[in-house]
Symmetry: C2
Subunit: 599 residues, 2 copies
């Protein structure tokens, strides 16, 4: 965004009073993100931008008492006025909503701008997926900026996915409207190790003078310095206090995260709150599910949590507005000042952070937690009707694990979970019986079949294995959300239920399904790329709740039962993962055989 | 500046220890401008950039204790290590030195980067002048960034100057290396009033995504909002506390100034120091004379003053480094962190702010107040040998004031000073005797002849009048520094001394001259554009001191006798000025007649 010369001319005239303002907001307490002050003020708006701010503080800073004239006057009723909130890193796909439905879910909570990374849909649909996210967010009543996904796939060579992005694809995306940089550069070993691919991708963004978003959990010392030297300047993967301190000292922008599963503010903020108003702090949600958006909010929840963790409201809001905008180069966002976009919140309580009114570009778009403007129909997108689960119906025997012997036993490498909550599996070896050429787990209640099936047009790429302590008892769960390749992934006690759940997804174009005893227990349809529903949050929330309840009832009692299945293939998280290419030893970043000779 | 892909690759390898560092600085207390902390640290440098920072703080943030290997190790002896200082707004011409000599004067004080506005020389030599400043600063051991002058001339129509810049000239300059935006947009009435010229010039910078520097003394309320809406985002002309508060609240970057004559920190900083670490504060010098640079320093003096005014050392340094760099879009400057340029200071005392060592791009360039590297010969510039005083020798009668009558009296408009120190003259009317068709001031000890003579090739543009309480007694002073047109300006008790002083400048190519009783008392030669000497500070300082002493001895006992003559033509300062076009009523921005019928 950037004001045109003509817009500037008109805004100047409106500031001077030569044009009538569109809107005047009076009787508010302005939270000034430059000075940290809170004081009475009035704000004049013209054509979506702030034309004038009239301060009325005690110390006579107000030296221009002329009446401001406007078409419309909003009485702020003494509430706080703040800039609209900015999410510095989010995957909209994780909300399972379209950009339009996501807008309706987060705008009432005061998020007026998001910096998105559409790398989930990119892994399924490639540039077409990113284009869909870009085009379908074009005329929304919130601002959705896009970073070009940098790691599609996240671990080349260890999985097959729907697309591969190199510097050419990134260069193309960087020319698109509202694309402002390169998204989380997750392949930090590649960046540090000097991989041609990552150097090319990062180089494209830097050559455009654009932002490069980082991602480097627990990277420290020289390797962290190397990563910073390579170009990325932010990180949202920080989980520990000393990690936050080290990264902040090195000038890295800390996008402190409060997602559905990763609630990092409690660790990060106490560790950095004695720093002197560091400019390199923002807030982000990364991944947040619809039910959580409905229940607790979005970035406003992160601001509320930041205040609970000891930041002053001014500093928490500065992080979530001005600093977030500056960190990604959005110079007209994040402040209540002349020449800035009129994205504003009226908030009765800074501790509560629930806006009574949300304005974007000078228009009231939400009041008291509800949209008051209709989101324009984003148009017809064939992608939304395309079945991206490119698989024929799968027979039950597809889900069995074939052994190298006909009968007897085999020593099998098993993915093993320690507890309910963890997304971290480790390797175990187990001697298992073989019947009819297949591994038989019927006698072992802690074991399930696990399978990953390429759904991107290469059905020959598939792999089945054994998993321990996954958490479900009898039955099967299948998912086409399966980070980051989003192949079809199943976990089942028996091949029949596996086939039932999987085929339900093949039919409906993807989602998550649970089956037991030949019956579908729950089916969450996500027909857009197998990741996204076309339902709004109010309808989708109860459905995801129902699915989660079903999974809990099946035995997945941990914090987020959905993520258990969705992260089985995520070969960047230690240490045992499975993809359509086989078992992945994440620490070694290589495939390991399913069967072995040694115990 | 921006690291190339290849430089980044090497820097990454150096960070990892795969390349030997060029330099390691050990045993220092790092002043961290992100966090405000001070802690023990080591810094590794490779090819001019910081490859690694090893923190060694109490709280075990240091998790990478490997030895760093380097070609050279510098023992910081426990001193403070800070980023090099940045002057956010300076006219190098005001130092009367070439860019190379200016470098030698300010580098030992720790100024490693300046953001310059060459608008003085631009008014004399046009694009050739700016090009000279750009080319002659190319390979210096400090960073000189250039803003394209926006107001050449400053008041079109009321004076004739050596050049006129419109949007075409600005567009051309914006393509030059190290030009990073548009310089102080002084014509704020034009900006607010929507003048085509100013809109075009500002539009060029914004269209390039570049910085637009502001200049709007005492602008307030709606007019200030209008100015901000038009594009400029900074101001260095702030002289009052409430002005600073209003502008800072509106997000304007305050380039707080400590120049030779305008010492604004004492007003600004106490007014804003209760704000919560506002990000929109920088420090600048604007105009600083050689003797002051030698005696008190440069931006380090401003930092010292800021600390005296109550800023913490961390905040004062953040303003003079990181915030200054960010305000103008220099992303690789202003911090001690991986990927930043290795511009560093070793400082024994933060209160004193006198660096023991100054590094630029990883090389030690000054120690203990002295340069230790030779400034490379910037090359041969014909501009330096060009006499820009395009006037033939002036006869004494040129300086007389012709009256509309042969004998009798005339009522004359007189520029009148109230006191010694002021640069502000007001209008007075005075009935004066006429002899031989000329106004005769021989009987009035408080009156002098004043004259302005176009020296840019239009000698027909000249004007003489009468001035009161200028301050000198018998004799004459002449100057080719005469803001901003830099025409030849004289003040004299008699036409003979006026001619003597003026012709000395015609001969030598400009400068400042004093004459009395047919004798030159002092002559400061400024042969480059009539503004700049080719002498270094150590030689130039004593010469300017001698000139000032002479002026004081003649009667100019105010704070800065040089500025008295140099600002007579500055038709943006109220209320009575004179140019080569006539008498200027600054408040009305129009020419007024010398003689009048009414008392």
């Amino acid at each position: 965004m950037s004001l045109t010369t003509e817009q500037r001319r008109e805004l100047v005239e409106a500031a001077l009073g030569h044009r009538k303002l569109d809107c005047l907001i009076e009787n508010v307490h302005l939270v000034n993100v430059f000075t940290g002050e809170v004081y009475p003020a009035g704000v004049g708006i013209y054509r979506g931008y702030i034309a004038h701010v009239e301060a009325d503080p005690d110390d006579a800073g107000n030296r221009d008492a002329d009446e401001l004239e406007a078409d419309q006057t909003i009485d702020g009723e003494g509430m706080y006025l703040t800039p609209g909130l900015i999410d510095s890193h989010v995957h909209i796909e994780s909300s399972m909503m379209t950009p339009a439905n996501f807008t309706e879910a987060v705008l009432p909570h005061g998020t007026t701008t998001v910096v998105t990374d559409p790398h989930e849909i990119a892994n399924v649909l490639g540039l077409r997926g990113v284009k869909y996210m870009q085009q379908s967010s074009r005329d929304l009543p919130m601002r959705q900026y896009i970073l070009a996904p940098s790691c599609v796939p996240s671990v080349p060579g260890l999985e097959t996915t729907g697309a591969e992005f190199g510097s050419c694809e990134v260069a193309e995306m960087l020319e698109w409207e509202r694309v402002i940089g390169v998204a989380e550069v997750m392949d930090f070993p590649g960046v540090i190790g000097g991989s041609e691919r990552m150097r090319g991708i990062v180089g494209e963004a830097l050559g455009h003078g654009m932002f490069v978003q980082g991602h480097c959990p627990e990277l420290t010392g020289r390797a962290l310095s190397a990563y910073l030297c390579a170009g990325p300047r932010s990180d949202h993967e920080i989980r520990f206090g000393d990690e936050a301190r080290e990264k902040m000292r090195l000038g890295m922008t800390i996008d402190a995260r409060e997602s559905s599963i990763s609630r990092n503010l409690a660790e990060i903020l106490p560790a950095v709150r004695d720093f002197d108003a560091p400019p390199n702090l923002t807030l982000c949600t990364d991944d947040k599910e619809p039910a959580d958006l409905l229940a607790e909010g979005h970035i406003n929840h992160a601001v509320r949590r930041a205040i609970e963790e000891g930041l002053s409201p001014g500093q928490a809001l500065r992080a979530a507005t001005l600093q977030a905008a500056r960190s990604v180069g959005l110079d007209e966002l994040g402040a209540v000042a002349p020449g800035y976009a009129a994205d504003l919140l009226l908030i009765p309580s800074l501790a509560n952070m629930q806006p009574a009114a949300v304005m974007v570009a000078g228009e009231v778009v939400a009041r008291d937690g509800k949209m008051v403007t209709s989101t324009p129909d984003p148009g017809d997108f064939p992608v939304e009707r395309e079945n991206t689960v490119h698989l024929d119906a799968l027979a039950p025997e597809t889900f069995a694990v074939r052994a190298p012997v006909g009968e007897g036993t085999v020593i099998t490498r098993v993915l093993s979970y320690a507890g309910d909550d963890s997304l971290y599996a480790s390797w175990e070896k187990r001697e298992l019986p073989v019947r009819d050429g297949k591994v038989d787990i019927s006698g072992a209640g802690d074991l399930h079949y696990v399978g990953v099936f390429n759904r991107h047009g290469a059905p020959e790429n598939r792999f089945t294995g054994i998993i321990r302590n996954f958490g479900i008892g009898e039955g099967a769960v299948a998912s086409t959300i399966s980070h980051d390749c989003h192949n079809l992934t199943t976990v089942a006690s028996n091949p029949e239920d596996a086939a039932l759940a999987a085929n339900a997804l093949v039919d409906c174009g993807g989602g998550i399904a649970c089956a037991r005893g030949g019956e579908i227990l729950a089916l969450l349809e996500l027909p857009v790329a197998g990741l996204i529903s076309t339902l709004p949050a109010a309808e989708l929330g109860p459905r995801t709740d129902h699915l989660k309840e079903t999974l809990r009832e099946m035995g997945l009692t941990g914090a987020d039962p959905l993520l258990r299945i969705a992260t089985l293939t995520l070969a960047v998280i230690p240490e045992a993962k499975i993809t359509d290419q086989g078992l992945v030893d994440v620490n070694a970043q290589k495939l390991v055989p399913l069967f072995t000779d040694e115990q």
